[in-house]
């Protein structure tokens, strides 16, 4: 009887001791936060496996700079300095509502790159483009070319909003060609992107592969997981299409670019896309800061890795010079219209 009571009371005791089962939590101080930041990136960040930057070397440089007296501001700068070298738009962190993305800050220091805004569009198109909820801007040029600017794939717009793309295609049905502009599209939900791209697809095509990081080593990855673009909608657009990209085109907008690149009637034009396509997982640090770091790699249909490649290079590379920028001249859009003359 005594033995049984002993077993029961012991088991009850263990159940009440959360930490006995789940282990200790790290203390909240700059040193444990730094160590956790290092560990999470070291064990889970896929981007360091395809970029020539040694995370261990960065640790050796920055670890001595962190002490119990390190301030929040100093630790923020250390983290920014460590991750900016990877030039990965999906490697960033949040402190409360403040978002720190040093790679994004670098490319947007002088505004959205390779894109001059709606006023510049109006100058080239000859009239102010119509808009739908700051999601789509669209117009027909005097030369009978359709222009559609997709500003995002984010979830802040509904499925019904994205379905408005079908209305735009109806309106531009009689045009001889289309320009799809995603130069200021920072991504969002891939499901919306694949539905829009599906309007242009006539057959099923694998547009990308992904692999998930399964270990610390550079070669520890899962098998390839394929993603397919399928025709969507009641009719398909088979006319010539020029897709405009720039360095602010990243995340799901790169996925969209990969989808469109599988189509024979699509020409990509502009500047390289940004770097950062696979989604990130949010990881909490001991002081409550949130590290956002991707743990997978995306590949083109020929299994060339996309991350760390400096972005997808368009077929026709065109940029906006400083002089053109000063004059509000959207040289990329002008080049696209030239191509479709």
């Amino acid at each position: 009887m005594k033995k049984i009571l002993y077993v029961i009371s012991t088991t009850l005791f263990f159940n009440s001791c959360t930490k006995a089962f789940l282990g200790d939590e790290p203390e909240n101080n700059p040193e444990t936060t730094f160590e956790s930041f290092y560990k999470q990136i070291n064990e889970n960040y896929s981007g360091k496996d395809v970029r020539p930057i040694s995370w261990d070397s960065l640790y050796k440089v920055y670890r001595p700079k962190v002490t119990a007296q390190t301030t929040k501001s100093q630790l923020t700068d250390i983290f920014k300095n460590m991750i900016v070298l990877y030039e990965d738009l999906h490697l960033n962190f949040k402190i409360g509502n403040e978002f720190y993305s040093p790679s994004l800050e670098r490319i947007t220091a002088n505004g959205i790159p390779d894109y001059l805004g709606e006023t510049a569009l109006e100058k080239v198109l000859g009239k102010k483009p119509k808009s739908y909820k700051d999601l789509f801007y669209y117009e027909k040029t005097s030369n009978n070319v359709g222009y559609v600017n997709i500003k995002t794939f984010e979830n802040r717009f509904s499925q019904a909003d994205y379905a408005f793309f079908d209305n735009i295609l109806e309106e531009l049905k009689d045009t001889k060609a289309l320009i799809i502009d995603i130069r200021r599209n920072d991504g969002g939900n891939e499901n919306y992107a694949v539905k829009i791209a599906g309007r242009f697809a006539t057959t099923e095509q694998v547009y990308k592969y992904t692999r998930v990081k399964t270990g610390i080593s550079k070669t520890d990855y899962s098998d390839f997981n394929s993603f397919t673009l399928k025709p969507n909608g009641v009719w398909q657009i088979t006319k010539p299409i020029v897709l405009l990209t720039g360095r602010y085109t990243y995340s799901t907008a790169i996925n969209f670019t990969m989808m469109m690149r599988t189509l024979p009637n699509v020409t990509t034009l502009g500047n390289n896309t940004g770097d950062g396509v696979v989604g990130f997982t949010t990881r909490e640090l001991p002081n409550g800061w949130l590290l956002r770091c991707p743990s997978g790699l995306a590949y083109l249909p020929d299994k060339t890795v996309v991350e760390g490649s400096g972005g997808l290079k368009p077929k026709i590379v065109t940029t906006i010079s400083e002089e053109q920028k000063k004059n509000g001249q959207d040289a990329i859009l002008e080049k696209a219209l030239d191509l479709l003359k």
């Binding site: 009850l12 089962f21 990081k213 993603f227 997982t281």
Partner: protein, 259 residues
């Protein structure tokens, strides 16, 4: 691994021995009961791929159980459901949804004084999903688990009051689960991808799933109705690159209809 296989083999042999026995006592008329329960639970979870900190929170679990009990055996089918909201110490939110379906069959192996010891097995099906709405769908994780547990119940009866203590431990489990750095969204393309990337058999010592149940069953208040009070504690630990463990404790009371 060899040790685990030996343990499984030993318990399997014990089960076969027990199930092979039939005595006249076993043919005594069994009792049937259906219980509907409501309680209070506390869940603590640590998944180091997301945080080194412990997420914890309370929930209101519901349970529905059918029990068939005779002098020599106990059988039950039990459904447990809860959807607690967990928080990290810095208020990062995790919405959890846990559902357990258990079928247990145990045979009496020993009686002494006012106590009876039953030994047997449990089939467990569990679905557990976690979302973190503040950070988006990339953090969604899930487990669908089908397992065989070894189980024993000790009952103690005194003046029509009964106390039950049950201990169960997973012997073998077939799990579909998102592993480190995978997420539910990664498998939206097709269910076959989930099976391809996240399905495997797990057993001790890599996978630990154990539970303790304590029940107090007072005498019948009327011809058919009685209530019972239960405590249930469950601990699951998955050995992957980064630690993941879940500890759940719950107290519930049930209204039981006996026939």
């Amino acid at each position: 691994m060899k040790k685990s296989l030996c343990i499984i083999l030993f318990w399997s042999l014990v089960l076969i021995q027990i199930m092979g026995q039939t005595t006249p006592e076993m043919l005594a008329k069994p009792t049937h009961s259906i219980s509907l329960g409501l309680g209070l639970s506390h869940t603590a979870l640590k998944t180091e791929v997301i945080s080194p900190l412990i997420f914890s929170g309370t929930g209101i679990p519901f349970s529905l159980a059918y029990r068939r009990e005779s002098v020599k055996s106990k059988q039950y089918v039990q459904l447990l459901y809860q959807s607690p909201t967990l928080h990290s110490p810095f208020d990062l939110r995790m919405n959890a949804l846990d559902a357990f379906l258990l079928y247990g069959y145990l045979r009496k192996v020993k009686s002494f004084n006012k106590m009876n010891l039953f030994v047997g097995g449990e089939v467990q099906v569990m679905g557990s999903f976690r979302q973190m709405p503040q950070v988006g769908s990339n953090n969604d994780q899930g487990i669908i688990l089908t397992g065989l547990n070894l189980s024993s119940i000790l009952t103690y009866s005194l003046n029509a009051h009964t106390i039950e203590a049950q201990v169960s431990i997973a012997a073998l489990s077939y799990n579909l689960r998102t592993k480190d750095n995978n997420k539910i969204g990664a498998f939206e393309e097709s269910f076959s991808e989930l099976v391809r990337f996240g399905a495997y058999f797990e057993t001790l010592p890599n996978y630990l799933n154990m539970s303790l149940r304590m029940g107090y069953i007072p005498p019948l208040k009327s011809k058919h109705f009685r209530w019972r009070l239960d405590y249930w504690g469950n601990f699951q630990r998955f050995k992957q690159r980064q630690y993941m463990g879940v500890l759940q404790n719950q107290i519930s009371t049930s209204l039981t209809y006996q026939f």
